[in-house]
């Protein structure tokens, strides 16, 4: 049994298991809420309940006072939902966030391509157009697979009646195994979306650096196609990391864009090229390619990272050492069953990274 908790003012929706605290669920699902002590004594994680029932847990009477309890305040670190809830937290709404409503769609498979030995491109037609921001994701319901699976949208928002997804086969992953091995053209799937806070901060005038790894190319592809279509003139750089030449997919697309647009630069990087690849480009991890390309200085840009957690972590470290900080780093972590759920003892220093 689990409950849906909507976090206002951003509208993020998190799934909270029976007995799980709101804070724990939010942090695990990449939704940041202010917190400090984590055990009900400090009140940093105080939020207002707008709808729904909950158990207040072990909140200290000094951290959550009687008058606040009467006003419907709870401490997210102790509070466990007893129904679906809507809460309001002390978090900022991004001015660039369009806030398109989440809707349900029926998607029919129109095409399945092999992008690389491990990644398939899956194209759908939607029963109605979906309004979304480039960089956001959808949830797929798969037959015989419990829960839903999240995939970033790879097509640009102007192609609103279709969906392009890049799906990497995760060893032992039920969802991606189904998509790789059983899905066929003509099949229909239930889709909901759009979700997520990963999108281009267009009101910011700084240059845009995209760092993508594996199937994490999907979001940047959508974001870059969208910007170029709109005639965005800021410098845009895409750094794409892959293991070897076979895994470096959609290379021709971006090489063509690089030739066509003066403000777009494409930097592919292979960390383990095969002898047969005859690779002339950058050899090394994608964060190393970024460091080399920008001479280790990133200030004056905004960075958008998309890919597996180790790539994201390495990229953040490189960017911060090059004087680009949290407020200018945006990311989508592709966490899969293969990454496990190892407990990370994290400090409260960073909010989102």
């Amino acid at each position: 049994m689990s409950y849906e908790v909507t976090v206002e003012p951003t509208g993020d929706v998190i799934e909270v298991e029976e007995g799980q605290t709101i804070l724990d669920a939010a942090l695990r699902q990449g939704v940041w809420l202010p917190f400090a002590c984590g055990h009900g004594t400090c009140a940093t994680c105080k939020v207002q309940v707008l709808e729904g029932e909950s158990d207040l847990g072990n909140a200290s009477p000094f951290a959550l006072m009687d008058m606040e309890r009467e006003e419907g305040k709870v401490l997210a670190c102790c509070c466990t939902p007893e129904s679906d809830m809507v809460i309001e937290a002390d978090i900022d709404v991004d001015d660039d966030f369009a806030g398109y409503p989440v809707e349900d769609f029926v998607a029919t498979v129109t095409e399945i391509n092999e992008l690389s030995p491990t990644i398939k491109g899956i194209f759908f037609e939607l029963d109605k157009p979906m309004a979304f921001q480039a960089g956001q994701y959808i949830n797929l319901k798969l037959p015989g697979v419990e829960g839903s699976r999240a995939f970033s949208i790879a097509n640009k928002p102007s192609d609103a009646s279709m969906l392009e997804l890049h799906v990497r086969l995760v060893p032992g992953g039920a969802g991606t195994t189904y998509l790789h091995q059983q899905l066929e053209v003509g099949d229909t799937l239930d889709v909901s979306g759009p979700y997520g806070q990963f999108f281009v901060r267009k009101s910011d005038q700084q240059g845009a650096i995209f760092i993508a790894g594996g199937s994490g190319l999907s979001s940047p592809q959508s974001m870059i196609l969208d910007m170029l279509e709109e005639g965005d003139s800021r410098p845009i750089t895409l750094l794409q990391g892959a293991r070897n030449l076979f895994e470096l997919y959609n290379r021709a697309l971006f090489e063509n864009l690089d030739r066509e647009f003066d403000n777009f630069t494409y930097v592919p990087a292979l960390n383990a090229p095969e002898p047969g690849d005859d690779w002339q480009g950058f050899t090394g991890f994608v964060h190393e390619a970024a460091q080399a390309h920008f001479n280790g200085r990133f200030d004056g840009n905004k960075a958008y990272l998309c890919g597996p957690p180790p790539m994201i972590d390495a990229a953040i470290t490189t960017l911060m050492q090059g004087r680009l900080f949290e407020r200018d780093i945006h990311m989508e972590r592709f966490v899969t069953a293969a990454d496990g759920a190892e407990e990370q003892n994290r400090s409260a220093l960073f909010k989102r990274i």
Partner: protein, 500 residues
């Protein structure tokens, strides 16, 4: 989409941050004269992100409610003679250290934050510091009120404020804060706001307050909880300060690192008194100092420094020594107080056999080897009527002002001592950590007011130690000091409990 609601950030901006003003006829630099002299470069105060958004009106509302709750509990504690419910009267001696050594630091924190709150050019930082300043004033007041009940029944509380300013071992916490307050405003924030509040306060409030709960002291537990609800704001302020400084300019990174090195070392030295309170002074133990250190410093601090590494900040200097010290410092500190029990403002004792066994179990690598034999010897001597007191005045470290009681961590049989010649004078230190701090700013530390030096110079009355205790420290000699065994505290407790 519906119009966006005024969120908490906007409310805060309109009600608080808007209170700033521009300088039209005065020079801004002259209005904030301390902002630059530490070498810190602030390029853009608008990048300051408010660590918490509390408007003044809600601040008063919340704090008033907390006070109401807290004082209701104090009243009940007092009416029910709550002091009779503590596990053992020895426990009360930990409170004597708390009131004389730690509560006055809250007062110094109040003064310090009021000062820096005036000195920052950014309004967000100013407002946050002013609120913290008010919190600290509230903390010292509630602590004094909580302990005033004990003052009616036990010795050693009556002159806490006077004693804080003069007594030899209380110069350790006092000088720590004086050092921070006489530094520039940014160093103060790294010293107190970051190093002390974020990383080290948890070690005071969490295990020690649990200790109070384990020993039946409801009043202390309650002021602890009440203060902790403010600490969160202090911790997030400390975090914002360090992020802000590190992000503002890369030239700030080595300066901040130097302050982290200094204040973590200073903080660890200061915490040796908490270590001793936990291992020796709480009759019902919560956890050993070593265990508390592992949970609250090594794990939580380790995660923090892992994140700070992204800014180019490394673990504090001497982290390896600090790690080894958790096995030793509580034992070395309590042994020193035991052997100087005649000049302490609280009672000391030899741990019971059961407590010695507990210490052996908690410190399997060090206690039986180095410390248990000392206590067995003390027991023997006491049984023969030869209770040992060290009658000399100890040499103090020029920086932390702790007597030279610590040993080399790789050789616990060897006292750790360092010295350094500066302008023809030789200065002495307990460790490389303290010696390095001196070398960095010798002009500051040659001015240190060292209690033992002052006694020898005749500035503290005397000439007899007894006169100094009585007249200069205002100790009630024969009541406040010496062994727990045979003390008036013990006699009164036995009378209340009907024990012969």
């Amino acid at each position: 989409m519906a119009a966006k609601k005024l969120n908490i950030k906007d409310k805060y901006r309109l009600l608080t941050r808007d209170l700033d003003w521009d300088f039209s006829y005065e020079d801004r630099q002259q209005a904030f004269p301390y902002e630059e002299f530490e070498g810190i470069k602030i390029t853009d105060w608008s990048k300051w992100e408010d660590p918490f958004r509390l408007t003044m009106d809600s601040y008063w509302k919340y704090q008033a409610e907390k006070e109401k709750k807290l004082y209701a509990i104090f009243d009940a504690f007092s009416q029910n003679n709550g002091h009779l419910n503590v596990t053992d009267p020895r426990y009360v001696n930990a409170l004597k250290i708390f009131l004389t050594g730690i509560s006055p630091l809250e007062y110094q924190a109040y003064q310090g934050f009021a000062h820096v709150g005036r000195q920052f050019g950014g309004v967000g930082a100013r407002v946050a510091c002013q609120m913290q300043s008010l919190d600290e004033l509230r903390h010292v007041q509630t602590q004094i009120h909580a302990m005033s009940h004990y003052n009616k029944f036990f010795d050693g509380f009556q002159e806490y404020s006077h004693m804080h300013d003069r007594v030899w071992y209380l110069s350790v916490p006092r000088s720590f804060f004086c050092d921070a307050r006489s530094a520039g405003p940014f160093e103060f924030m790294i010293a107190i706001g970051f190093s002390f509040e974020y990383v080290l306060t948890n070690l005071v409030f969490v295990p020690f307050m649990s200790g109070a709960a384990y020993n039946g002291d409801m009043a202390t537990v309650t002021f602890g909880f009440s203060a902790q609800s403010d600490e969160a704001r202090h911790m997030t302020l400390g975090l914002e300060v360090i992020k802000f400084l590190l992000e503002q300019h890369e030239d700030n990174v080595p300066i901040v690192q130097k302050w982290i090195d200094k204040w973590f070392w200073r903080g660890c030295r200061l915490l040796s008194v908490i270590a001793m309170m936990m291992d020796y002074m709480l009759p019902n133990k919560v956890m050993s100092w070593k265990e508390a250190w592992e949970v609250y410093f090594e794990e939580a601090g380790g995660a923090l420094f892992k994140d700070l590494a992204r800014y180019g900040i490394r673990m504090p200097k001497y982290a390896e020594t600090i790690e080894k010290e958790k096995e030793h410092i509580s034992h070395q500190a309590w042994w020193t107080f035991y052997t100087h029990g005649h000049v302490a403002g609280f009672h000391t004792w030899i741990p019971t056999d059961e407590e010695l066994d507990w210490l052996s179990a908690q410190y399997p690598d060090t206690f039986d080897k180095y410390y248990r034999p000392l206590w067995e010897l003390a027991k023997e001597m006491e049984a023969k009527g030869e209770r040992f007191y060290n009658s000399g005045l100890p040499q103090l470290c020029q920086i932390c002002q702790i007597p030279m009681l610590f040993t080399e961590m790789d050789n616990p049989n060897q006292n750790s001592m360092r010295d350094y010649l500066y302008q023809g004078e030789r200065y002495h230190f307990c460790s490389d950590g303290c010696c390095d701090i001196f070398k960095e700013e010798p002009e500051k530390y040659v001015q240190a007011w060292l209690p033992v030096h002052q006694i020898f110079q005749g500035n503290c009355g005397g000439p007899d130690v007894g006169d100094i205790l009585k007249d200069y420290y205002k100790m009630n000699v024969g009541h406040d000091n010496m062994d727990m065994k045979g003390s008036p505290d013990e006699a009164r407790w036995n009378k209340w409990k009907g024990v012969a």
